[in-house]
């Protein structure tokens, strides 16, 4: 048999990229950095005095930090082929549960545990319903969006719960080498997220499950377990975000995290992660969060009302998805 079969394969061979480097999304992230620079210029032009102020930067970074942590979890879920609409509600529920009188009596560590445990457990419920109950993630987390916030209202009786534990209150004001604690938390969470996504079996299998669940199953991957863990991870991220929002506001409230699902999904999509699953980058998500937060900040500085801000955010997300669909069609040929 002649071994030198030189084939005339029609479709292929030209677009040979290196996928895990692709995964860093070099060109796309450069684009995001360009957008970020443009946003800074826009901010400087529209409000020259206030935008470039150091305090304003701190405000941007701190609000980016909270939504950023949620977005890291959301990135895993979306790459894994799902969506989590309940993130804002989980943040609210965890913030309330962790600031009840009973929780506060346990002191700083008891509170921290409560935030993380409530977030993780709620995410686990999502995961079990979706993976083993076979409910579409869109529906399951939509139901959780309503019920988690309802439970938060029930527990808090609609009241804002003030944090009395002084060690907790000081979280917000502390810094590490001049970087505010909250921002440090985002950096740590995003770095761990990047690492897990790109350097571990868990991350690799997340891409596989989102890209082709059947192939993943035949390769011996426990797709259900992976799906369940992804939503649990998102819940954990919400628990961490709850700590951050409570530290910032020194309150727990069932109104915390309102529309976080929109902000997080928006940031993830702007960051280049495909809503169809199987594609996405953590670096893109962080840049997406920054772009989104800077734009929001510019709207605020220019006295846009909340209604107008929300309209603008919606438009930005739609534009990002449109742009993403165009570039993806261009880049991988046969794959629609």
């Amino acid at each position: 048999m002649n071994d030198t079969v030189t084939t005339l394969d029609e479709t292929s061979a030209s677009n040979g990229g290196t996928s895990w480097r692709d995964r860093l999304g070099d060109t796309q992230n450069l684009g995001l950095i360009a957008v970020l620079v443009l946003a800074f210029v826009a901010g400087w032009v529209t409000s020259p005095d206030t935008f470039l102020d150091a305090n304003n930067f701190l405000t941007i970074l701190k609000s980016a930090a909270v939504i950023g942590v949620v977005s890291v979890g959301m990135t895993f879920v979306i790459i894994g082929g799902g969506i989590d609409l309940s993130v804002g509600a989980i943040v609210a529920l965890a913030s309330v549960w962790g600031t009840t009188v009973a929780s506060q009596e346990m002191g700083l560590w008891g509170m921290l545990f409560a935030f993380l445990a409530v977030g993780t457990a709620t995410g686990l419920v999502n995961g079990v319903l979706i993976a083993y109950g076979k409910i579409v993630s869109f529906i399951a987390t939509l139901a959780m969006l309503v019920s988690a916030r309802g439970l938060a209202q029930y527990i808090s009786d609609g009241q804002t719960q003030i944090v009395e534990v002084s060690a907790f209150r000081s979280l917000n004001n502390g810094d590490v080498f001049g970087i505010p604690n909250l921002v440090v938390m985002l950096i740590v969470v995003a770095a761990i997220g990047w690492f897990v996504l790109n350097r571990t079996t868990f991350g690799r299998r997340t891409f596989a499950v989102g890209g082709n669940p059947e192939a993943a199953r035949l390769a011996g991957i426990n797709v259900k377990r992976q799906t369940m863990l992804l939503f649990t991870l998102s819940g954990l991220a919400c628990g961490i975000a709850a700590i951050m929002i409570v530290a910032r506001t020194t309150t727990g409230s069932s109104t915390h995290g309102n529309l976080y699902e929109l902000d997080a999904i928006g940031a993830v999509v702007i960051g280049g992660t495909s809503l169809a699953g199987g594609r996405g980058t953590m670096v893109g998500t962080v840049l997406g969060v920054l772009v989104f937060t800077v734009m929001t900040n510019i709207f605020v500085l220019n006295n846009l009302t909340t209604d107008l801000q929300n309209i603008a955010k919606g438009v930005i997300i739609v534009l990002a998805v449109l742009l993403q669909q165009r570039t993806q069609r261009g880049s991988d040929g046969a794959h629609a």
Binding site: N2, V5, T7, S12, A13, G17, G211, A216, G333
Partner: protein, 305 residues
Amino acid sequence: MTTTESPILELRGVSKRFGAVQALQGVDLALRPGEVVALVGDNGAGKSTLIKGIAGIHPFDEGETSFDGRPVAIHGPHDAADLGIEIVYQDLALADNLDVVENMYLGRERTNRFGLLSEEAMERDAADTMSGLAVTTLSSVRQKVAGLSGGQRQTVAVGKAVMWNSRVVILDEPTAALGVAQTRQVLDLVNRLGNQGLAVLLVSHNLHDVFEVADRIVVLRLGQLVGDLDASQVNQQQVVEAITAGTLTSVPGMATHATGPGAKRGDDAAEPSADAAESGGAAASTDPTGPTDTDGDRADGETTP
């Protein structure tokens, strides 16, 4: 053609029933190292059931399985993989969004002692496997599978199967969706697998492909083994006859009703029982139009010797 060696995988009298349908009945099969065995049969003959049984996806109800002469029980895909049995599925089971290396290691990623992915080692070994199979059609093992042609995808799927020190490779219709040049490429690959001492079971509808690579041809009909033929001793016509009218040892659908001439059951009454199976079998499992389709397919195969 090394039929003297003792088999790696041997099935004796395996049966499988799905509800009222007897999908496999008392099938014997032996796969020897270095031998390419083709498994042929009409739609519904039980080919898929047989390989799914071997793969542990739908374990057999009855019968014995032995590996290297030792009796084994294959209850799930992991049992099969642990023994060194790998299946290349018809739909290829590749993730388009991952590259060649990532697909080849999917589900069995290699990690270092800190639990992190060993990308370089995986890339090197994947490339080695591909060059060991004399695959020259991939420009890079870091290509995304989405950008590969059908033949290249099949090559990746085969590479994935043989990378695990596998002893038995089962290919399910590997050329079904391929053009001429790519079919050539895959058949050469199948030959090389045999030359490397693996036991290869090739499931195919295309008798031309089968005669090109197979040492032995095993024919299933209505869930029963109706032929175990030496490929060099038979021609396509004989195989087609076995596929469409091979002698059945028992007649499905008739055994339970115990009516009609087929109920006599027995090897001496070959012709009547085969006829009865045509009608009884159609009621039990197969598409009634099957035999005519088959003739059409085979005619295709014969025009290209």
